[in-house]
Symmetry: C2
Subunit: 146 residues, 2 copies
């Protein structure tokens, strides 16, 4: 994550700064979406400090570079695990443990665009989030641990 981010930042002409690396590091460790202020708190626990405005700006850049994604319905950000793969990135979100699974599927994209096309709508990008239970939480439910 860090290594790749440095590469991308450099390649696109953006400076490799301490705040940027710190945010990337947090995202890299996080197992669920984190908000700008959560990132700030996490850094604080490490004895570090970043202004929240800076964090907002870093996250905006990372999303722009496809190194992270914003999950609107969660108000949080997560690292992108698909690399700079083209097309729509989709998410499965376990609303028990908060775990995120990122995926992409060309067939789904085609189908969505097809339906849109029928009414003359020209799709540019999607936001797709599936909510449910991840396999381990689902097993937990079955076992009666509600």
């Amino acid at each position: 994550m860090i290594r790749n981010s440095i590469q991308v930042l450099h390649a696109q002409g953006y400076k490799v700064t301490r705040p940027r690396l710190q945010v990337v590091e947090i995202l890299g460790k996080a197992q669920k979406p984190v908000s700008p202020y959560e990132i700030q708190k996490m850094l604080k626990q490490q004895g570090r400090y970043l202004n929240h405005v800076t964090i907002y700006r870093v996250l905006e850049l990372l999303c722009h570079l496809n190194l992270a994604h914003k999950l609107p319905s969660e108000k949080g950000f997560i690292k992108c695990i698909l690399g700079n793969r083209e097309g729509c990135h989709r998410f499965m979100i376990c609303h028990k443990c908060g775990a995120i699974q990122e995926y992409a599927d060309d067939k789904l994209c085609r189908n969505e665009k097809e339906i849109a096309g029928e009414i003359g709508f020209h799709t540019q990008y999607h936001v797709s989030e599936s909510y449910g239970l991840c396999s381990s939480c689902y097993k937990g439910e079955l076992a009666g641990n509600v």
Copy 2:
């Protein structure tokens, strides 16, 4: 919209109150997503007043009853035009004029669930938003009115 909402509220044992009807009326007229505070402003222009907390609560209820939807990435709410149809409601959003098109498609749902199932994820509901240009805005772009 109003008539149907009254029916649903009543049927589900919720009171039919003035604030609820006023919010429903605003949503019914709106051609794009509106935030709680926007609703408050619109009512103000009509010489009416609702506390923003009330508006939040009304919207929450309307979503619960499937009479409205929240569009997370837009931070706004829109009326549901599909009725109490089961399944995932999807949206196409024109980011030029803000127009919303709501639709549902069982095949897409099945496909998404299928993919999720492969990794043991149990989908309960989706959030799906396609961003692009509606047919009239697209024509406008082609005509050079950028």
